[in-house]
């Protein structure tokens, strides 16, 4: 019963942008996050992504993914110092733990970078419905059959999860327990879950493809498109912004600004 989609049904500036323009903005955020290395610089796209999430009313989605974001951030902070030359003043020197300023800043930058990407993606899915995602893909010139397949997958994902939940309950009611410590036993206990889920899915696929053809779907024949995206002025603005930010980021970073 709980919703699986991250899309927030609202009417924000970001919702109104063409999906392709939103992808452009995603690039505008990713390029600086990728080209710069210093945390002060990467903080800009990071904050921009958070602001985007706020504008798109997607902050509540943070509740559902905060764990992944925090985990990636912390893992980055712990792992990256090991991959970089020491240098600069010492920040931490407690027993075996010895970190220089350079190591710390480098790790912080990398953690900000990866979490910015995730936040940016979250802005995109929070403000773009499945319908728009597919339309955006088609607008980028991807083949219709491929876009349709992605759309169907997005459409059926909640249905699939529902079925999986029902199967789990049905087997639990028959005494299935998946808590065995023995990994082989544990793996075996998944069989009564996986088989019904996949058998049901296969049965559905047959009905689906039948229903699909009965509605006249045929990748070989001509078709029309009811609603094509129109690229508005604001969408062009977003693209212009992206080009400007990307060019500036690349230029500055090549000059050594904001990097190590």
């Amino acid at each position: 019963m709980s919703s699986t989609s991250l899309y927030v049904d609202a009417d924000s500036f970001l919702h109104r942008l063409d999906p392709r323009a939103k992808l452009a903005l995603l690039v505008a955020m990713a390029v600086p996050a990728y080209t710069f290395g210093r945390p002060a610089f990467i903080a800009i796209p990071f904050v921009a992504a958070l602001v985007g999430l706020w504008i798109g009313q997607g902050l509540r989605n943070l509740r559902r993914v905060w764990f992944i974001i925090v985990a990636l951030f912390v893992v980055g902070l712990v792992v990256w110092p090991g991959f970089v030359e020491r240098g600069g003043p010492v920040v931490v020197d407690v027993g075996p733990l010895y970190l220089t300023e350079r190591q710390t800043l480098f790790a912080l930058g990398r953690s900000l970078r990866i979490t910015s990407f995730i936040l940016g993606g979250l802005v995109y899915v929070s403000t773009t419905s499945n319908e728009e995602i597919v339309r955006g893909m088609r607008g980028l010139g991807l083949p219709y059959a491929f876009c349709f397949a992605v759309g169907t997958a997005l459409r059926l994902f909640p249905t699939f999860l529902d079925a999986a939940g029902t199967v789990r309950q049905a087997q639990e009611a028959r005494g299935l327990e998946i808590s065995s410590r023995n990994p082989i036993e544990r793996a075996r206990s998944f069989i009564p879950l996986l088989i019904p889920v996949f058998m049901t899915a296969f049965r559905n696929i047959e009905t689906q493809s039948m229903a699909l053809e009965a509605r006249g779907f045929d990748t070989r024949s001509e078709r029309t498109f009811y609603r094509d995206s129109d690229f508005a002025f604001r969408d062009w603005l977003a693209v212009g912004f992206t080009v400007a930010v990307s060019v500036a980021s690349i230029a500055l970073s090549t000059m050594g600004v904001g990097t190590f």
């Binding site: 709980s2 759309g151 229903a211 006249g216 045929d218 009811y226």
Partner: protein
């Protein structure tokens, strides 16, 4: 083609088997009976049939008898899409359908199936309706009015067009499927059990849509509805919406004619394993002239009035016709102020709201109410699948959460609606043994339990069979056997009769009734099927908005038209007829009871036919 003016579909000598490259038997070998559970042989066994143009034709017959298969030849799914073995001629709207692709047939033939989830492809309501016309290369500017017309036709015009279909109710989803098909402006509409997965309200909405379509009232433009409709259904009430009927038996048409002719032919119906309409059954038993049997409650009422028959109490008020739940024993379940909410991203949504309920040993209780009324969620509290957020559920005086899942699972079995959500094993025996094994049974005791369960559901001897190759009715029985083998005190059923034909439903429920009568198994069943409620459950709990709206003897519920209307429930036909003529006597719940109630005098046996003048809804043939 000369035929095409008065015939929409004509099949000649059609033989079809789902087995690829099979050697199809010669026509003379295709006489005799076919086993409906047999999956190997041909399903269509020499079909000659025609669907009159401008008719609404209903096709009925036993499960596995080839009804759906027959309809699938109407838009070339057979033989173009399904890779089986085919022989014969199929002419649809003047086109040779055996030589045409499904996607081409889609220009003139629309199809709606039972499972709405598998038929929705769009990522939004609007995209869904536009999908068919887009596929058929309808110009974009023509699609917009079609979307409007189609959504209006199915009563979904108030939906936000960009809404995702996944958030809609089952009834709304099926209406959306109808809209998507209507937008392609089909001449022939093929419906395969369009209401089988829906609750009473969803069913009524679809029936309204079908009525509008069949009357040609789909307002707008150059298309006002399909000329011809062909429908498969198990529900007799829906069959009566049609004007022509075809009964299939042994993979061949067995009887066809007008709906009135076919559905008053009790011998033909019984032979084809189709439920005899209950009023036909009652009046036939009472000796009413065979060519004048009533199909609808109003017709029956007119006949009772014409014959001046008297109505006597058919049974004791608290007793179910199925003889079930007769003597409730000790208190089993006590639910007090149970509240349960689902977590969603929009915050918690309350599904069960302050329910107080008790169930005694040996009872048979029906839980009814619309989808979303909380009945399945409530039922899942009985075996601990859900734990109440507030309030308490106790079994034999001890709170259910205090039992381990293994402990309560042995006592309280839960049979899910769709057997395919639990069947996983390679053999029937392994499948049935799964539950008792999990509950720690081994050796001889385990074998004995499994044997007994298989015997009870009449699948003994099929121990090594592959349950995935079984028919739906058989799979349902495998699932029940899996629960019976754990030897539960209570069985909770979620929609036990969905997807089964009339005979299978009756067999399955008689089996449940026997478990209750002979072994004292307590039964709680969640169901939409009022016929099942009337026959087997002496007590009904009506759920509405997560709360218990009413908890009363079933006979009282079905005898009270005002209460039924309030809960949006439709009584079975015998009760509807009885209510119109019964005065202060208790209502009749089944055909047998109605016959008993009206059979005290021989008034009906000696009466003169009322004639078709008294009939109403089934006269749509001459529209």
């Amino acid at each position: 083609m000369s035929d095409s003016e008065d015939v929409a579909v004509r099949l000649r000598d059609v033989v079809f088997s789902y087995v690829r490259n099979a050697t199809l038997p010669e026509p003379e070998e295709l006489t005799g009976e076919a086993d409906p559970d047999e999956r190997e042989g041909p399903v269509l066994r020499g079909v000659d049939v025609s669907v009159p143009a401008d008719s609404f034709t209903v096709v009925m017959g036993a499960s596995g008898g080839g009804k759906s298969t027959l309809l699938r030849t109407f838009n070339a799914i057979i033989p173009d899409f399904i890779d089986g073995s085919f022989r014969g001629e199929v002419d649809v709207l003047g086109v040779d359908a055996t030589e045409t692709r499904v996607s081409e047939m889609a220009r003139d033939v629309g199809m709606v199936l039972q499972d709405y989830e598998s038929q929705l492809f769009g990522t939004s309501v609007e995209a869904e309706v536009a999908f068919g016309p887009e596929n058929l290369a309808v110009p974009a500017e023509e699609i917009e009015p079609r979307i409007e017309q189609s959504l209006d036709l199915v009563g979904l015009d108030d939906l936000e067009p960009h809404r995702e279909p996944s958030g809609l109710s089952g009834g709304q989803k099926q209406r959306l499927v109808f809209a998507g098909v209507a937008a392609t402006h089909p001449e022939l509409l093929v419906l395969d059990e369009p209401t089988s997965d829906l609750d009473p309200r969803g069913t009524r909405d679809i029936v309204d849509v079908v009525n509008t379509l069949s009357a040609g009232d789909a307002a707008g433009g150059d298309w006002s509805g399909p000329d011809t409709i062909a429908m498969v259904t198990h529900k007799i009430e829906e069959a009566l919406l049609a004007d022509h009927a075809v009964l299939l038996k042994d993979g061949r048409p067995f009887r066809s004619g007008t709906v009135r002719e076919v559905f008053t032919d009790t011998d033909a119906l019984t032979a084809a394993r189709v439920a005899v309409p209950p009023l036909v059954e009652a009046f036939d038993e009472l000796g009413w002239p065979e060519d004048d049997l009533p199909l609808l409650p109003e017709e029956a009422r007119d006949r009772v009035a014409a014959a001046d028959a008297e109505y006597e109490a058919p049974a004791e008020p608290g007793v179910a016709p199925g003889g079930t739940g007769a003597e409730p024993g000790d208190l089993l379940f006590e639910l007090s102020d149970v509240t349960f909410a689902y977590d969603t991203d929009r915050g918690p949504v309350t599904a069960v709201d302050g329910v107080d309920l008790t169930v005694r040993e040996g009872e048979v209780v029906a839980l009814v109410g619309h989808n979303g009324s909380g009945k399945t969620t409530l039922a899942k509290h009985f075996n601990g699948l859900h734990e109440a957020d507030d309030g308490s559920v106790s079994y034999r005086g001890r709170p259910v959460p205090e039992y381990g899942m293994g402990e309560i699972g042995r006592e309280v079995g839960f049979v899910f609606q769709n057997p395919d959500h639990q069947i996983f094993a390679e053999t029937v025996r392994e499948e049935v043994a799964f539950g008792p094994k999990n509950f720690g049974l081994t050796g001889e005791e385990l074998e004995r339990r499994v044997d007994r369960a298989l015997e009870t559901v009449e699948l003994d001897g099929l121990d090594d069979a592959d349950p995935f190759a079984f028919s739906k009715g058989q799979r349902q029985r495998v699932a029940l056997a899996g629960i019976l083998a754990t030897d539960p005190e209570v069985i909770v059923f979620d929609e036990p009769t969905t997807g089964l034909d009339a005979t299978q439903q009756r067999q399955f429920m008689d089996l449940v009734a026997e478990l209750n009568r002979e072994e004292g198994v307590t039964v709680v069943m969640v169901t939409h099927d009022m016929g099942t409620v009337a026959r087997y459950a002496p007590r009904t709990v009506v759920m509405r908005d997560g709360a218990v709206a009413d908890d009363l003897p079933t006979r009282e519920l079905f005898g009270d038209e005002a209460t039924l209307a309030e809960y949006d429930l439709v009584p079975p036909h015998p009760a509807a007829c009885a209510n119109a003529v019964r005065g202060d006597e208790p209502t009749a719940l089944t055909a047998e009871e109605l016959a008993t109630a009206l059979g005290g005098t021989d008034a009906l046996a000696d009466a003169e036919p009322v004639g078709d003048g008294a009939s109403t809804a089934t006269e749509g043939a001459d529209r």
